[in-house]
Amino acid sequence: MSYLAKPKVHHPSLKKNALGLTRRDYEGSLSTLCAGCGHDSITAAIVQAFWELEIEPYKVAKFSGIGCSSKTPAYFLREAHGFNSVHGRMPSIAAGAGAANRDLIMIGVSGDGDSLSIGLGQLCHAIRRNVNLMYVLENNGVYGLTKGQFSASADPGSTSKRGEVNSMSAIDGALMALTLGATFVARCFSGDKAQLIPILKAGLVHNGFAFIDVISPCVTFNDHEGSTKSYAYTREHQIELVQADFVPVREEIEAEYAPGSVQRVQLHDGSHLNFRKVAEDYDATDRDKSYAYIRKCDEAGEVATGLLFIDPDTKDMMEQAQAVPGPLTSLRFEDLCPGSEALEKLQMRFR
């Protein structure tokens, strides 16, 4: 992906986190996306989330496929390894990397073409496998790099910039993830940082695959009247089902909530999420109810957002594989190779 080097200038008054790092330390090179691109807002939110979580950048591995969205890992965490793979196949790369070194903090960034068309299979199976990966789908309903074709998330009846009407049904990533057994499903709007940042933080801490569908308007090819992924449309139709506050392990619970209005979910590492319910009868830990509620919103022409579902007590891929703790890459060769004596002995079987 193309990028411009970003000058590393630190303003002395920039706030530092517990590691002594400022937000600038979590940035990457300058974005070469179009001015006003929703993806850049997501990048900014990602920078903020990592900074707030006080994660050492080099412990992170960034993955992406191909497309505008997949360029963005170059724009955050310059001190983390990045892997811009082939179109639609990022989940398998991340699964392999996670198998080799389960201590990596993994983030994947993809788009709707990358995830819902060419890479639909890999996305589905990474969800099933519960790869310990935060997967951000930057969803704009359009193929940007090839200049404006409909993607699989384009809603039926919506129009392209050239006025063509999409006749096919849309794939809703969040609903699909729910049916596949995803353990963390969220939908956000790139223009709503306050909502996005805590969800990203929770997704990073979640033990397993965290699927975050972010409506991220394409200012160049899909921000017109007739689009259902434009800034205007999303702002008008977004309804926030739950507001999630991420509370790290060491922080006291300070916020006060009206009784009965908060649902509390503990995450893998002891941190937790407080859901402030906007929709009263919403339960983000009930898969079926979540599904039904989102469907109902769809039918009403509303875009349901928030942390839609979470199952915090799951086994990720490596736990399912019953692997030893820590990276497989750190095992000593002597603990991997049985040696000549064992080889001599085991060959009795072949005589």
Binding site: E79, H81, N84, A95, A99, A323, C337, L346, R351
Partner: protein, 599 residues
């Protein structure tokens, strides 16, 4: 009449899914335990139950392991293939059949001796239940065969005991079935036949093993920790073998946790992606597949080549194109592996000829992949991978340590001024790499798009070309690191045989036959790609080189032409690609017919 003691072949025709595999294995192993060299070829259908299947056993005091198309004895137990099976016995040979039912007149040949054994009747009288009767019928024919061929009954008993030591009921019924077959034959025929066994001492340093199992052992011993795969015939048993060995040798004795991860992927695209991801993160990772998988992996193999990420792939070749014949063997993927993926690519390939080399080359593949930071494809085939071969015992040098290549540690990075991923620091074409999660200074962006030697994205012509030229140099330099070719010079030879992989067994036997007939030949078997210079030299030294391989289009010959520049006219193709393992007969008739034209 020639003495056929310890020198004959027989074929057993059954329907698959009836349990005949264990009977065939029992016979084979018993012959092996008598110290007599033996090999088996399983010719099986792409099916689970009910279709014709054959098992060929060759006994060779000379130690020849290639398939032979001449059968002294046919054990015809599948009425569906009677006609074909009767026709395949050599003149003067024998045919054993189940005489519970009479044979049709048209199946009677004057030049073949028929041995009727009422297997079904014997088993119906002595066993209860349909399933047991069917299973024991197989064991009964093993018993009958043991009498006809003179297999030591003590060894049969010993093997049966070993197999059923934990299932006494099964031991009893197996022993009873063996006795039924053997006693009937002893009572009704002169035993043993002229094709007979006599104890030798030629197998004590050998094992009987298939190449998928030995390759999986290679992966275990090389220290592979991540295996990703999509099941496909004939590669499936490689990962299943690895899993079995890991369950035995890679489980923490205290915590019962695994020192490995096996990921069954949704397809081959994902399987190779996982291997690349795991290797990128520093694990030794591999995937076993067959031709259709190689086709699917094309895009990712190009990424690993260009982004310089190790990956080990086993291609257990089967008959193509397309789905082809999944349970038949071929060497049809030479070209598609050597240059897999779009754009300019070239991949290191290793060509084992038998299960022993499959073991050794599995280990070598990981070392080469990490040293050259590129995919390595081990091209085995169904014949090597799924048939039981007699090979010298596998050995292991405990001093072996993996060659992890140029990977910078946290300490090295800490001490370094800066790090550039694709810079040719040492002038050998191999840059340094870093692993994620190790050190902030090691970070870089891995990409399949244009990049400069510093690791940055580029669309600059010079920067692009500098990297792609260095990669070409790097991969070409692997010619000196891959296993060197096997070269045999024979006195008086003016022509050469050039071959690859599992053709070896048939070629060496054919060369003995032709030398005995006054036609000595030199021999070269390539074991790695890119080819070393000795390959070009050999081709140039010989006016005529017979290139023996198992595909229709002469892919090895094409590769040799492309890579060595030796003209086509020096190379005569001898091809066999019908799906069964190559025999010396194919090679001899191939050479003779070419010579007829050349003279």
């Amino acid at each position: 009449m020639r003495d056929q003691t310890n020198d004959f072949a027989f074929k057993i025709a059954t329907a698959n899914g009836t349990g005949s595999a264990s009977a065939n294995g029992l016979i084979m192993q018993a012959i092996f335990r008598m110290g007599v060299p033996v090999t088996g070829k399983n010719l099986f259908p792409s099916n689970i139950q009910g279709l014709p299947t054959w098992y060929e056993i060759r006994v060779s005091k000379h130690g020849y392991t290639a398939r032979t198309p001449i059968f002294d004895l046919m054990v015809a137990l599948n009425p569906a293939t009677y006609a074909k099976d009767v026709a395949e016995v050599r003149s003067g040979g024998w045919l054993m059949y189940d005489s519970t039912w009479p044979l049709h007149d048209e199946l009677i040949r004057d030049d073949v001796t028929y041995i009727g054994v009422p297997l079904a009747q014997l088993c119906n009288e002595n066993f209860k239940g349909v399933r047991e009767r069917i299973l024991m019928k197989n064991i009964a024919y093993a018993g009958a065969l043991s009498a006809l061929l003179g297999i030591d009954p003590e060894i049969i008993l010993e093997l049966t005991k070993e197999k059923y030591s934990r299932k006494p009921a099964l031991l009893d019924s197996n022993q009873k079935a063996i006795d039924l077959g053997r006693d009937y034959v002893h009572a009704n025929y002169d035993c043993p036949l002229p094709i007979r066994l006599q104890p030798m001492d030629a197998t004590k340093d050998s094992i009987l093993i298939d190449g998928n199992t030995s390759a999986s052992l290679g992966c275990l011993y090389a220290g592979a920790t991540v295996g990703a795969w999509y099941p496909i015939t004939p590669a499936t048993s490689l990962m299943e073998g690895f899993k079995g060995f890991c369950q035995k040798y890679r489980v923490d004795p205290e915590t019962k946790q695994n020192r490995y991860a096996i990921l069954q992927a949704e397809d081959e695209l994902s399987a190779i992606g996982m291997v690349i991801g795991a290797s990128w993160a520093g694990a030794r990772a591999f995937t076993p597949t067959a031709g259709p998988g190689i086709s699917l992996m094309g895009e990712f193999l190009g990424l690993a080549y260009y982004a310089e990420i190790p990956a080990v792939v086993f291609d257990v070749q089967r008959t193509g194109p397309s789905t082809g014949m999944p349970t038949r063997t071929q060497q049809g993927d030479l070209m598609s592996c050597a240059y897999a993926s779009h754009g300019d690519t070239k991949h290191i390939c290793l060509f084992p000829s038998d299960p022993r080399e499959a073991f050794e080359m599995a280990v070598a593949a990981f070392d080469l992949a990490e040293r050259f930071q590129t995919p390595v494809i081990v091209l085995s085939d169904l014949d090597i991978g799924m048939n039981d071969w007699m090979i010298p015992k596998l050995t292991w040098d405990d001093r072996y340590r993996p060659d992890r290549g140029k990977v910078l540690s946290a300490e090295e990075l800490d001490a370094a001024k800066n790090f550039a991923r694709y810079l040719d620091v040492d002038g050998d074409g191999i840059p340094y790499r870093t692993l994620p999660g190790v050190h902030p200074k090691g970070s870089y962006f891995t990409r399949g798009s244009g990049h400069s030697k510093m690791g940055a994205y580029t669309e600059d012509s010079d920067e692009y070309q500098e990297v792609i030229d260095r990669i070409a140099r790097k991969v070409d330099s692997a010619a000196d690191a891959v296993p060197s070719p096997v070269i045999l010079h024979n006195k008086g030879a003016r022509m050469g045989i050039v071959t690859v992989g599992a053709c070896h067994a048939a070629c060496v036997e054919a060369m003995d036959l032709m030398a005995a007939d006054g036609l000595p030949l030199d021999y070269l078997r390539v074991r790695g790609f890119p080819f070393g210079d000795e390959v070009r030299q050999f081709l140039e030294e010989h006016e005529v080189n017979f290139v023996v391989e198992q595909n229709r289009d002469g892919q090895l010959r094409s590769l040799l032409m492309l890579e060595t520049g030796v003209p086509r006219s020096r190379m005569q193709s001898i091809l066999y690609y019908a799906g069964f393992p190559l025999s010396a007969h194919h090679v001899v008739t191939g050479v003779t017919s070419k010579l007829g034209v050349l003279v």
